[in-house]
């Protein structure tokens, strides 16, 4: 029983004290039998606020602390650390929320908000009075990580991890690394091609033998927890003999009689059934068995190759699974109805593959209309896809540079050429391209007249004038949507409202997911351009290194604990445990501390109350309920 509890009530600079009468809360608890001191302060989380607590712990010999302020998500650790510095076991600090739970939700009734705060604080005092001193769990962290996705984000992660001496397993489902960035005709702001960037990353990646690349790989199982993840992959065969030279590959590709549409160029060009990707990795060929006729003209085929299964382990997982372009619906701006309505990624490849003159489906392109915000800022996808404005401006400039005179119309809502990208917007204007602002309530309509497409649009910049713009090609500036991956479900990572993966907090934990040890990088989190993608990848590595380079992690001690006296070995808990952390040994339940997540399901079901959750014991809850009964 704790006899000398200190209680600290925070104003949160008005966030709490505007509605909760903090002085009244202090008054209500300061004379309770086991309360040694109760105070209020403008910002408990500030240095001065923390010092207040530390001084009291030392001077008044406190054996328990209650802080009533914001959500424990924000500052529980702050106050625990402060207590520890003053010599008090940090788990004797109880942090309760009177901001989100009182002032913010009951701003219409300050008196009731104050009453509720008083009861919350009183119950916290009851809880901390029965608290035990606990020690954090220390997990060893082997310097080994798994990166899922071999686009530029995944490659950046792998390189940065490897440089720090960490072993990396890089898993890619396609036969080659590079992802969608490889398909970009011209990157902004560097002006390189996407495949230049991929090549640079590949060259860097090849220097590190501690990066293990698995292409053509499918993840079939993923499990584990921080410090010990297991990912089972099946690597599909390339059906090409190992150790063949580059020259042999070149000849083999030449000999292959089967031509199919090349998905890398969205079918604008053909490839063979056996193929390689220039400037990518691995520098090996692959045979597309959906189209191969097994003639073996190539001479390097090996049809006997079998799938291989690997079980990879890593202390952490970084998801860099990416996003994909929004696929317009049939008829959306006449997409799928007229051949000459295409999407921006296809246009990018068109720029790359055309030589001399810009041609599509047998027609020379002289007039182009770009329609912005397709699949973004709509009812279906409310979010802005961020990259498309500048990517479109950049593609238009690239087209002009490569093919000379073109008449270009930008049919937009807002040009979001943020930051230094403003210069692209300016350049496009200087080049004489025209901007037409459309109303999303009355979007442009694409029709055909003779051999031209006509874009009918009401221009908000000229007071709503009806315009008819005749063009040869309509390019839909499509947004990004998340690339689904099986591993999301296997690891149970949460999604945000926009369908992308959800970080824990956009500022405080921007690359962490709710699953400990699973981080996110690149566009699986939200649409990003290549700069933001590689930055976020390095950032995820930076955060991961706080464990992987240091070599251990310290975790909260809130896990289940069995009282063998009370346990009768009924094994209800074993069946219920979602983490598989409980087994029966000699007729008693035993907890695996590394696996237990502290969810408390076992304790709730145990018929003999033999399982307690450390820090959340039955008797603590009973004491809290006893207090709240009075409320």
């Amino acid at each position: 029983m704790r006899e000398r509890v200190g209680v600290y009530v925070c104003h949160c600079g008005g966030n709490i004290s505007d509605y909760v009468d903090v002085k009244k809360v202090v008054e209500a608890v300061k004379d309770l039998p086991n309360v040694a001191v109760a105070r209020d302060f403008i910002f408990m989380c500030s240095d001065a606020g923390q010092d207040l607590i530390k001084e009291d712990i030392k001077n008044l010999n406190l054996d328990g602390v209650v802080v009533a302020s914001c959500s424990p998500h924000l500052h529980e650790k702050t106050f625990r650390d402060a207590a520890a510095l003053a010599g008090l076991n940090p788990y004797l600090v109880e942090h309760v929320c009177i901001r989100e739970h009182c002032s913010w939700v009951h701003s219409d009734d300050p008196e009731a908000a104050t009453q509720k705060a008083i009861w919350i604080v009183k119950s916290a005092i009851a809880k901390v009075s029965l608290a035990d001193e606990l020690q954090p769990i220390r997990l060893e962290m082997k310097p080994e990580a798994i990166v899922v996705g071999g686009g530029i984000a995944g490659m950046r992660c792998a390189i940065d991890l490897a440089k720090a001496g960490i072993k990396v397993h890089l898993i890619e489902k396609k036969p080659f690394l590079g992802g969608r960035a490889a398909q970009i005709f011209k990157l902004y702001p560097s002006g390189k091609t996407g495949s230049d960037l991929v090549k640079e990353l590949v060259d860097e990646l090849k220097r590190y033998p501690n990066i293990h690349v698995y292409t053509n790989a499918e993840i079939v199982e993923a499990s584990g927890a921080l410090g010990d993840f297991k990912v089972k992959i099946v690597v599909k065969p390339r059906y090409v003999k190992e150790g063949v030279s580059k020259e042999e590959i070149r000849r083999a590709v030449e000999c292959c009689p089967v031509e199919v549409l090349d998905e890398f160029n969205y079918g604008l060009t053909n490839r063979k059934a056996i193929y390689v990707r220039e400037s990518s990795y691995p520098e090996e060929a692959v045979i597309d068995m959906d189209h191969c006729i097994k003639c073996n003209e190539c001479g390097i085929a090996d049809f006997e190759q079998k799938e291989e299964t690997y079980e990879l382990r890593g202390s952490m997982i970084i998801l860099a699974t990416g996003a994909k372009p929004y696929e317009p619906k049939e008829g959306e701006f006449s997409y799928g109805i007229y051949d000459h309505v295409i999407t921006l990624p296809v246009f990018d490849r068109l720029l790359a593959v055309c030589d001399g003159k810009l041609e599509y489906e047998g027609k020379e392109i002289k007039d182009i209309a770009f329609i912005y915000c397709v699949g973004s800022r709509t009812e279906e996808h409310e979010y802005c896809s961020r990259y498309c404005c500048v990517a479109t401006l950049n593609a238009a400039l690239g087209a002009l540079e490569k093919f000379g005179k073109l008449r270009v119309y930008h049919i937009y809502r807002d040009i979001r050429a943020y930051g230094k990208y403003e210069t692209y917007y300016e350049k496009v204007g200087e080049e004489g391209m025209l901007f037409i602002k459309y109303d999303p309530e009355d979007p442009p309509v694409v029709e055909r007249k003779g051999d031209k497409l006509i874009v009918k649009v009401r221009d908000l910049l000229t007071g709503g004038e009806e315009l008819e713009v005749p063009v040869d090609l309509v390019v839909l500036s499509v947004g990004m949507v998340v690339e689904e991956a099986e591993i999301f479900n296997m690891l149970r990572v949460p999604f945000s409202r926009d369908g992308f993966l959800q970080e824990v907090h956009p500022k405080l934990k921007p690359v962490e997911t709710a699953i400990g040890g699973v981080l996110i990088a690149g566009t699986c989190q939200f649409p990003k351009d290549t700069v933001e993608t590689t930055a976020s990848a390095s950032a995820a590595v930076g955060r991961a290194e706080t464990y992987l380079v240091k070599g251990y992690a310290e975790l909260e001690p809130f896990i289940a604990e069995v009282d063998p006296e009370k346990c009768d070995g009924c094994s209800v808990c074993v069946e219920e445990c979602p983490a598989g952390a409980i087994r029966i040994e000699n007729g008693k339940a035993v907890i695996n501390e590394a696996l237990c997540k502290g969810c408390g399901a076992c304790g709730a079901l145990c018929p003999t109350e033999a399982i307690n959750l450390k820090g959340y014991k039955y008797e603590q809850f009973r004491a809290m309920i006893d207090i709240l009964k009075e409320a």
Partner: protein, 439 residues
């Protein structure tokens, strides 16, 4: 001062990006020296009310870091200190720092504020952008870290009252600059941004004079970071949102976006990336504080491009904030002291004149001495004076000098999530560099 001769990493700038980088790299086990030229860490973020699009209070994000930095066993913090010289020797850097005199013995000061109470000199308070005053002996702001006083000798009248009032005898008028030499393994530049000075946009009538109304001097035309202070929980007038001219509650306000951004005539052609969103957020906070208040935003393009931004913009639009696509030509002052916005509405083609109680200039961001620090470090800058990123697509935290990395808005304007990402990116590049140099 217990300063070691050598640290793994020197971090220049104790704003949010610098604090983030320091904490992450220190958590990974490296020794960090964090240098901040101002008397407190916290940067601009600690001055801000709430952050978009989540409307978390900025203090709740910043103060824990400000408290954690000086407490961290692997971080040595030097405030009021500038980098004077850097020389690369082999793979390491010899750094000369100068700790400016506070005229208060830092180790002795307990931050009680008695010197502040007795000091008779009143000058505009930097932390509040001049909305209120501070003393010549002062603690920079309530939540300062370290919470230590200093004396502004330019304004001090040498009356000695602070010296007599100090319970710790911590005042030292003979304090002098101290040179410090250290060797570091890698450097992170996190020098952040400065605000565009709205005085330069003469047509908008901002003079910085917040007390009197003369011809063309209107204290009811303020800049957005001043408005940020008026909306903050720790607001200078102890009640949210009074206009500085006469203390009236402003019932109609307008925001003028792109003040000092996207403006070649002022030498800053680029967009400042955050002004659209912070203005939308301020409009929301204003209409929450003054429910009968009306807010109008004059914009060229609304750039709500980050995660959750568009949704936030839509919500604020639905709450009744008025958006006018137009370019503000000038701001005049009516006889009653109210500002009048003269703008061309792009959608009607008309020139419109509208009177408001207060106008907020949504000022852009400019480099914060990055040209000077770049010269000292020998790294390149871009055409606008920000730290250049030679491998911007592949490795954005890299600068033109191996071993020197860049975090946050030292590279250009950006919002908090992007700034944090680049800070943590700089951390992984530092660790990579340190590890490779060692091997």
């Amino acid at each position: 001062m217990d300063i070691k001769p050598e640290y793994d990493v020197l971090i220049i700038g104790g704003g949010y990006a610098g604090m983030e980088a320091s904490l992450t790299i220190a958590d990974a086990g490296f020794e960090v020296l964090l240098v901040e030229k101002e008397p407190s860490i916290g940067g601009h973020l600690i001055q801000i009310s709430k952050v978009f699009p989540t409307t978390d209070c900025a203090g709740c994000i910043t103060t824990p870091k400000m408290a954690a930095v000086p407490k961290h066993p692997k971080i040595k913090l030097l405030t009021y200190t500038e980098v004077k010289n850097v020389e690369k020797i082999g793979k390491k850097f010899r750094v000369k720092l100068v700790k400016k005199p506070r005229y208060v013995i830092e180790e002795e000061c307990i931050g009680c504020g008695r010197c502040e109470e007795v000091c008779p000199v009143l000058v505009p308070k930097e932390f509040e952008y001049g909305l209120i005053g501070r003393k010549a002996a002062y603690i920079p702001f309530e939540m300062a870290s370290p919470k230590k006083a200093l004396i502004d000798l330019d304004n001090c009248i040498m009356c000695g009252r602070c010296e007599r009032a100090c319970p710790k005898d911590a005042i030292n008028f003979l304090d002098e600059p101290k040179e410090i030499d250290v060797t570091v393994g890698a450097i992170v530049v996190a020098t952040g941004y400065n605000l565009f000075s709205p005085e330069l946009k003469k047509e908008y009538g901002y003079t910085g004079n917040l007390t009197r109304i003369h011809d063309n001097e209107n204290p009811n035309i303020i800049h957005a970071f001043q408005f940020e202070r008026l909306l903050a929980p720790s607001c200078p007038y102890h009640t949210v949102c009074l206009r500085p001219g006469d203390g009236k509650i402003p019932e109609r306000i307008a925001f003028v976006l792109c003040t000092g951004s996207r403006d070649k005539s002022l030498g800053n052609p680029i967009c400042s990336r955050v002004c659209c969103m912070y203005s939308i957020k301020q409009a929301l906070l204003y209409t929450s504080a003054i429910p009968y208040g009306e807010a109008t935003i004059y914009y060229m393009d609304i750039r709500a491009f980050g995660k959750g931004f568009e949704e936030f913009y839509n919500m604020v639009k639905e709450l009744g904030v008025r958006f006018v696509k137009g370019k503000v030509a000038k701001i005049e002052t009516n006889e009653n002291g109210n500002p009048v916005v003269v703008a061309e509405n792009f959608e009607t083609g008309e020139i419109e004149r509208e009177e408001y109680d207060m106008v907020i200039l949504s000022v852009g961001l400019l480099p914060n001495g990055s040209k000077e620090i770049a010269k000292i470090l020998g790294v390149e800058t871009d055409p606008y004076g920000w730290i250049a990123q030679p491998d911007v697509n592949g490795n954005p935290a890299k600068t033109s000098v191996e071993g020197i990395f860049v975090a946050g808005t030292a590279t250009g304007p950006m919002d908090l999530p992007d700034s944090i990402a680049l800070a943590d990116a700089a951390v992984s590049q530092c660790i990579a560099y340190l590890k490779e140099v060692k091997d």
